[in-house]
Every structure is written in structure tokens, then in C-alpha cells.
Subunit: 344 residues, 2 copies
Amino acid sequence: MRPIRAVIYGVGSMGALIAPMLLHKGVEIVGAIGRNPAKLGRDLAEVAHLEAATGIIVDDDAPQVLGTCGADIAVVSVGSLVGAMYDHFRVCLENGVNVITIEEESLYPWLTSSSLSAELDELAKRHGVTLTGSGIQDVYWVKLVSGVVGSMLQLERVEGRAQWNVDDFGPEVAREFRVGATREAFHEAVSGDGWYSPTVRNTLDALAAELGLTVERSHARVTPVLAAADARSKSLAQMIPAGRVSGLVEAVRIETREGPTLEFEMTGRVYDQPLDADTSEWLIRGEPAAVRLANAGYSTRLLTGSIIANRIPDVLNAEPGLVTIDQLPPARYRPLPLSDYVRW
Amino acid sequence: MRPIRAVIYGVGSMGALIAPMLLHKGVEIVGAIGRNPAKLGRDLAEVAHLEAATGIIVDDDAPQVLGTCGADIAVVSVGSLVGAMYDHFRVCLENGVNVITIEEESLYPWLTSSSLSAELDELAKRHGVTLTGSGIQDVYWVKLVSGVVGSMLQLERVEGRAQWNVDDFGPEVAREFRVGATREAFHEAVSGDGWYSPTVRNTLDALAAELGLTVERSHARVTPVLAAADARSKSLAQMIPAGRVSGLVEAVRIETREGPTLEFEMTGRVYDQPLDADTSEWLIRGEPAAVRLANAGYSTRLLTGSIIANRIPDVLNAEPGLVTIDQLPPARYRPLPLSDYVRW
């Protein structure tokens, strides 16, 4: 049995986190694609803080890398939104390379980017490969919640709340969240450009699909979190004066044709208090009983990496196409080398 | 499409709870089997507090009922331990009737009753039907825990703790737990007869199988819970004087060949304080992060009933044999009539 061969597509904060996890699980890294001039031409080991040199040089020529390295799968951690990622996904699929991505909309893009989803699905099928989005949402905000609902006769409402540290995900996310801006600038940006962050909406779309529910309407609301005292953003390497934006709360409510309402309020902010911690809390109302589900003590960032690793065999085993997590079993514990779980 | 036809096998506390849940999900009840002389000959509606008469009379002749009523499945809620339930299961299987049971050892009986398990498996296969054990353990103590472990790279230890109200499960369980006995009588009974309650051990056996781990050794410890003040046991309809046994704590630790340790401490006792509540709390230690999983706000008894209902299509769709939950996907939400989920 040969190892799985992977390309690290995007060598930022998350790509650098996932690379050693894959090596630990017996995956062979056969390529690394980046765009930051400070990283190009360097061994992946330097960029991802690995112990030993890999011989894999960070390259910005994606078609060249993907066309020659013989990868089974690309781990794509580049940016947000299917539209912005389309060409990155396309070059993988056209080279017969499966894709797993932390891009948030890809968790369930069928409703929010339906024509791009259909194109990616068709492209993946044509090349006999699979594209799947995963991350913390997959396990903690979809499959565990669905697991609880699976114990109930009648669902009335799901109310979720989660929090994570913006500083854990690199400067791009902090800038996207307007960390450091004034309240006025935040509102101006949000009301001027509109606001669409795919994390919350697409998580609920995935949850609805998982539960066999049909999305009819969705309402989103985004509000800034203001620093109570001067705080330091590690990812931006700058101080956030008290009263400036240190993160945001995004709340989405989905109404379904079948009746149940799905609500999720997600806070991403710079942690500035000693007890700040990642949490995921759900109240699931229905018959015969309401149930609380809470997870704590974990790191959203680290578990996003390990979930991506554990999902790789599922992606390689899936039918070709855009395969969203509602079509996959829950992520499983993979104590053996990941290639042992692949039906080659 | 025709409805699923079910027999309520055991019309005690749990059978009476499950019957209306099945009717609510479009299941046709075609038989009811009991042994309590006070219930025999009465309409199931009286015994299960249903609104309208069903025409189904509680009968103690199991072979007669199962041989003539054309049931797809029997919901068996009679007692504990595979050995004691063997003849009840056998008469169902021999009549070509699938079985779902709350009997706790059946959740994963392969290790604790291996020869009986093999016999039941063979018998079920011969008659083309399936036998599965489920209940609160299935969702809250196995599949959700496994869901969390599925987000981790390396498991070190699972530490679970759960509590439920002995009074919720009828007088048989309260008597089995020695509710009302003196501390001395409890210890004498436990050390004299030995103690084997299948709930905790077999839950961990199921969890190990679910995680792909091999059980090497198990250690069990049972200790009484003593009433802090005079308390009333509803199920026994008697007072428990302060200092007498009001329940017990059963703790099992399993060591696995692969390394991870699984521990579970379950408290079943008469609730005698206003804030007493059912809880399930797990600390899952490993890499890249330890994770807490907590469920609360629910009723163990009610959710055991609804989980049994939601599992029925899985049992009817499964391959013939003794099929334990590690071989099944997680229980799913079933908003439509249960027959809609059966591959007839």
C-alpha cells in the first residue's frame, strides 16, 4: 500500500498547521503552492516549522506543480468564498487532483453559489475527482448537532452559539473582520459593501441538508465587538485601542419549509481576557425533550486542522463531484496511517 | 407504501412510553405482549395511556402473537442481560420478526456474551431479520463521543460521567439497584452475588468498537449512593430513609490494545433534590486538543424512547444478523412517517 500524496495549496497559517499533521498520519507531501514572496522558493519545512527539510519548495505556479507532482489530493487553504477560490479549485480538478478545503462556503455552496457549485460538480465528475469543504463546522456545528437531533421525534428550533479567536487564523481574517477599525468605519463598510461571510450561513445550509430540511428564507445580522480595554492583536501585530473593533458577531436565522428554525450566532474576536476560550453551545428544542449540547476546552484552529486530516480518506473514497458533508458519514478517528482507510 | 407493523413486546414503563411515539410516527401496532396479570387482556390503550382504543389486547402468548400478527419488528423492553432475554429474542427471530431492544447488554454483547451473540446472529441470519440494541447510550454515550474523537488525531483517554433518575425506569430497575436497602445489605448483595450491570461495560465495548479499538482489560467498581435525607421513590412507591441506598454509581475502565483508555462513571439514583437533573459529560483527551462534550436539559427516559423509534428504519434496512450500533450510521432525524425511510 502506498501513502497518500498531498499538495499543500496555501502555506499560510492553516496550511502550515495542517502539513505536519499530514506527515504524522503517513501522508507524503509532494508539492506546496504559495503566493507570499517571502515564502516562495523556500523549503516547506521552514514555512511550516517542520523538523527536517522536505525537499518540497514553495512554488507559485499551481498548474506546473499540480500537473507534475502526482498528488492524490490538494489541501486548499487560500481564502474565502467559492467565487474567489474557483480558479484554485479548477486547476486542481483539471489535473485530476481531489480537493479538501477549509474555504467556508464550500461546506455547502449549493444554495449561495448554485451555478458555480454545478460547474465545480461537473468539472470534478469529468475528471473523476471529489471536492469537499470541511473544518470545525463539519464536526462541531453540523454532525454533532445532527447527532443530537437524531435522538428527537420532532425538531422545533436549533439555537447555536460559538466563539473563536480571530488571532488564530492569520492576518487575512483579522482584516476581513475589520479588527482595529472604528465602530463607524465598521458600519460604513458593512452597510456600504454589504456583508457576506460564508461561515455561519453555509454552516446552517449544511445543517439543514443534513437534517433533510429545505431552506426557505435566511436573515443575517452582523454587529461589531468593541475592545473593552486596549488589546493586542497578535495576527495583525498591532494594538487595538479600547472602543475600536476587536471582532464581530454574525447571526443567521434560517426558516425551513418543514417548520424548524435554525439559528446560529458566531463570535470571532481578538481574545483579550484571561478566561476567553473557544466554545460551541447549542440548545436544540423539540419533542420529546430539549437538549443542550456544549463543547469547550478545545482550539478551533487546531481541530480544524485535524478534522481536515481525518476527512482525507472520506474525500478519496467518495464518488466524484462536489460532495458536501451531508453526503458523507461523520468524520472518524483515524489512528492508522490515512492510506489504510482508502479504498484504493 | 404501507406502514411499519410493530409489536410492543413488554408493556411496562418503557413499552408504554414507546407505543405512542410509534403511533405518532405512523407505525401500526399489531400486537402487545406482557406478563403482568393486571395488564393481560386489556387494550394496549389503557396500559399505554393512549387516547383511543387500539383493539390490540395485551397477551402473554408470545409465539401466538408473533406467529400471527404479521409484524415487521418487535420493540423488546422486558428486562436486562442477553441470557435472560434470549428466549424473548429467539421467539421474535424465529417468527421472522426484527428486534430492537432497550436491553442494555445488546448494545454490544459480542464480548460479554460471545456464544449467545453468535447464536443470535446465526438465528437472525437464518430467518433474514436483524436484532439491534439501542437507547440513550447509542446517541449520547457512543455516537456523539465518537463524533468528537473523529475530530482528533490521537486519542489518549475518554472520561465520561452520566446521571439519570432510577425512578424513571420502573420498579424493576429500582429493585435491581437495591434502592431502600441498607449500606451493609447493598455491599453484601454486591460482594455475595457479584455485580454485573450491562449498561456501563457494554456502552464502553460499543464505543471501543466504534473507534476501532480492541478491548484488552476492563475493571468495574460499584458503590452505593445513600439518601442524604428521607426521600421518596416514586417507582417503588415507598420512602427511602436517610442513610439508606437511593441508587448507585457504576464505574468501568477499559484498557485497549491500541493504547487509549475508556472510562465511564454512571450514576442512577432516586432524585431527591430540586436541581437533580440528567447529564452526560465527557472529557476526551488527546491530540491536538482535549475536548469537553456535555449534554443536559434532557430526559434519559424520553430520549431512550425516541431514539428507539428513530432507529427502527435502520434496523429494517440493515443486513440480517445481530447488528450492533458500531455497524450502523448515527441515528437520524425522522420527521416523516418511519416507513418512508425503509428500503422496502
